[in-house]
């Protein structure tokens, strides 16, 4: 396994990168991968570790954008003056934004990106990756298991952010015998009226990873709405479940998403076409259940769900 990780300040990065690529004979033999990291956060580091673990035989050079899009762009500009890497790994949404804008001639695999289609659009032919989105069908299946009587699921969304997700969900909902009751909004404050308008039309509420809807006051209002009308809420995270959502599904670990990205990268380096390798969703999930909320809502949580849950709030 050849792994060369070079963590460099932007003042030294260009020199370090060129030096690293030029001086290590093993780098010239192994597949060269540039890993562009959005910022230094634990889950991104975990994802990189998972990627490295799954990319044995590749030489990986890491650069941290430190949350600065301009730094990322400058780095990519410097990269063009040296040998072209075989693949770029974009970790996190900011790295993907920069790479999607700046790189068209090198295969790109991303990891740890939520709602990637909002960034890469339809025209990008050189990009695939492992998103941190949770598979819709698993969320619907779980909801039906916990509340079999649910037939109508309320969804508030911003079409520009999660319209694609809602369209997918509408198709899949039919397979699970449920109907989505959707309300489109364009600003956080619209969420309140949208929620009130659907109070008699829904049996459950599903919070989507939609930046417009996820304003703190909107989420709090949804949870309050849930208790007032005894409507269970399917949340996005353990945090939302702790706040009062009945349950939440999220990706299990950055490491596993990094591993998924490594599998995609391996396929590309082995000669597969990117079109053959669609964007993946998280395959290992973390389930959090709030028994306090279940008690308030009068919902019985089946034992198999509790056994499966990673976190149970009692």
């Amino acid at each position: 396994m050849v792994i060369q990780t070079i963590r460099i300040g932007h003042l030294l990065s260009s020199l370090a990168l060129l030096t690293a690529v030029a001086t290590f004979p093993s780098l010239t033999e192994a597949a060269k991968i540039i890993a562009l990291k959005s910022a230094d956060v634990d889950v991104y580091n975990e994802a990189l570790e998972g990627f490295r673990n799954g990319s044995q035989g590749s030489a990986i050079i890491e650069y941290d954008m430190q949350g600065d899009l301009q730094k990322g762009k400058k780095f990519l500009a410097r990269l063009r003056s040296g040998p072209k890497p075989d693949l770029i790994l974009a970790v996190g949404i900011w790295a993907l934004q920069v790479v999607a804008e700046e790189v068209q001639d090198i295969p790109v695999v991303f990891a740890m990106v939520l709602n990637p289609t909002t960034v890469i659009g339809q025209e990008a032919r050189n990009i695939t990756g492992a998103s941190m989105n949770v598979p819709i069908e698993q969320q619907l299946a779980l909801l039906k298991t916990i509340s079999p009587h649910v037939g109508r699921i309320g969804v508030i969304y911003d079409p520009s952010k999660t319209g694609w997700l809602v369209r997918q969900a509408e198709r899949l909902a039919k397979d699970h015998g449920v109907r989505l009751v959707t309300k489109a909004v364009t600003s956080p404050k619209d969420s309140f009226a949208a929620l009130e308008a659907m109070q008699d039309e829904i049996d459950a509420l599903w919070i989507l990873p939609d930046l417009t809807v996820l304003a703190p006051e909107s989420v709090q209002y949804m949870l309050l709405f849930s208790f007032r009308h005894k409507i269970p809420v399917l949340g996005l995270s353990e945090n939302q479940v702790r706040m009062g959502a009945l349950f939440g599904l999220s990706f299990e670990s950055g490491w596993d998403i990094g591993s998924q990205a490594a599998e995609l990268a391996s396929g590309i380096l082995a000669g597969k076409r990117i079109e053959e390798m669609p964007v993946t969703t998280a395959r290992k999930l973390r389930l959090t259940v709030n028994l306090k909320s279940a008690g308030k809502l009068g919902v019985h949580i089946p034992k198999e769900i509790l056994d499966r849950a990673d976190v149970v709030i009692r």
Partner: protein
């Protein structure tokens, strides 16, 4: 390769700072600055004209030697023990992850305090280098103006009858030497603070201070009698006590300037947790202040101080971060100087790149010697991020209880910081 590169940066910074300190290290004073007050009238205290005598009792040259030595030594020790108390912090930046939005968020949008601590750490494999300048012009000691520190020295019990005779042959026992000291004490403190994020939750750091200390004492002494009359007691029309200059008044001065490396601090900070649903972000800081500065010249305390600090903070609305620091500083050389250290305040981002900071900070010595046992300061400052990874900071400390310890009217600190 990575490890070698990082050590090189560390080595360069530390060695450069030490070299600067060593190169400029010098002392202009005749003796150790630590003994400036003790020696202001000479190393043996106040010794009078040996030619003056009482009939049948010999020379009176040493009548004030013991009391002056004791008095000057006590003041000397009290003042010199209060040096070496300077606050530093470790830098804060970095990101946490917003799981629901799928984006990193800065641990706080504001830039952090200058002299106190916030719970977040720097971030893995990041290096922050901070150069600060602090000016401390002391003006008060235990509530007394340093321009005019009064001391009174009593004469010896010549006939050893256990009382101060105010009449008779030995009435000169009631003479006194009144001393007024003018103390000019100031510190210019340049510090290089380097912090490195070993992991996303663990920082290590070093503080290398270079101190320029000015400590001058000017003394005016006068011999008075029991009623305060100049010249003291006269016998047969002739004064019993005179200074060695043949006068009943004396001026003397001592002290000087020195520059050198102060006490180097090594420190580590570990973030216990962040983003807890109910609790604030919590970190521990452990510091060791090493006796690298000259104790004789008051550039260091001469002992190792070990500090354990608990740091709590929480950011509200991504712009307002209250913080609380509480810990204990153990002085391994003189346990009476061990103290409880505390600070409470906030930093708030008022503009996109401007943060203001306010703190109440201080310490309390549970077993102190009565000098500077409780120090409380108000600290006000601002941090500005003019461009890229450069930060400029300014801070002012204002004492809230001037009656305790050696104090300045205000202490300005200026900082230039770069985050790699």
């Amino acid at each position: 390769m990575r490890r070698v590169r990082q050590f090189t940066i560390w080595q360069r910074i530390i060695v450069s700072s030490l070299a600067v300190g060593l190169l400029v290290g010098n002392a202009e004073a005749a003796g150790p600055l630590r003994d400036t007050i003790r020696n202001v009238f000479g190393p043996d205290g106040i010794i009078l004209d040996p030619g003056r005598a009482l009939p049948g009792s010999g020379s009176r040259a040493g009548d004030f030697q013991a009391s002056s030595r004791q008095g000057l030594e006590q003041l000397n020790d009290q003042i010199s023990s209060t040096f070496g108390i300077v606050s530093f912090n470790s830098s804060v930046t970095g990101f946490t992850f917003d799981l629901e939005r799928g984006t990193p968020i800065r641990t706080t949008e504001s830039l952090g305090p200058l002299l106190t601590e916030r719970a977040p750490t720097l971030g893995a494999r990041r290096l922050d280098v901070n150069f600060t300048y602090t000016r401390i012009a002391f003006t008060q000691f235990q509530g007394s103006d340093l321009e005019n520190v009064p001391l009174i020295f009593a004469a010896e019990d010549i006939n050893q009858n256990g009382i101060i005779d105010r009449r008779g042959t030995f009435r000169s026992e009631s003479d006194q030497v009144l001393v007024r000291l003018k103390l000019d004490i100031s510190e210019d403190l340049f510090a290089m603070i380097a912090t490195y994020g070993v992991t996303s939750s663990w920082d290590i750091g070093v503080v290398v201070p270079v101190v320029h200390l000015r400590f001058r004492a000017d003394g005016q002494a006068a011999i008075v009698d029991k009623n305060g009359n100049p010249g003291g007691t006269f016998v047969n029309g002739s004064p019993v006590h005179l200074f060695r200059n043949g006068s009943s008044s004396l001026t003397a001065s001592g002290g000087g300037d020195t520059t050198g490396v102060g006490d180097v601090i090594i420190r580590t900070k570990y973030n216990l947790f962040t983003s807890h649903s109910a609790l604030p972000d919590l970190s521990t800081v452990v510091e060791a202040k090493l006796p690298t500065g000259s104790r004789d010249n008051l550039l260091g305390t001469g002992g190792t101080n070990l500090t354990g600090l608990l740091v709590a903070s929480r950011t509200y609305g991504r712009w307002f971060t209250p913080h609380l620091n509480l810990g204990y500083v153990r002085d391994t050389r003189d346990t009476r100087q061990s103290k409880i250290r505390y600070a409470g305040g906030f930093d708030a981002r008022l503009l996109e790149r401007l943060t203001v900071i306010a703190d109440i900070m201080g310490f309390s010595k549970p077993n102190g010697n009565g000098v500077g046992n409780n120090i409380v300061d108000l600290s006000l400052g601002a941090k500005w991020n003019p461009i890229g990874s450069w930060f400029l900071g300014a801070n002012f400390q204002i004492p809230l209880n001037k009656g305790s310890g050696l104090r300045a009217d205000f202490i300005p600190t200026f900082a230039v910081e770069y985050l790699f």
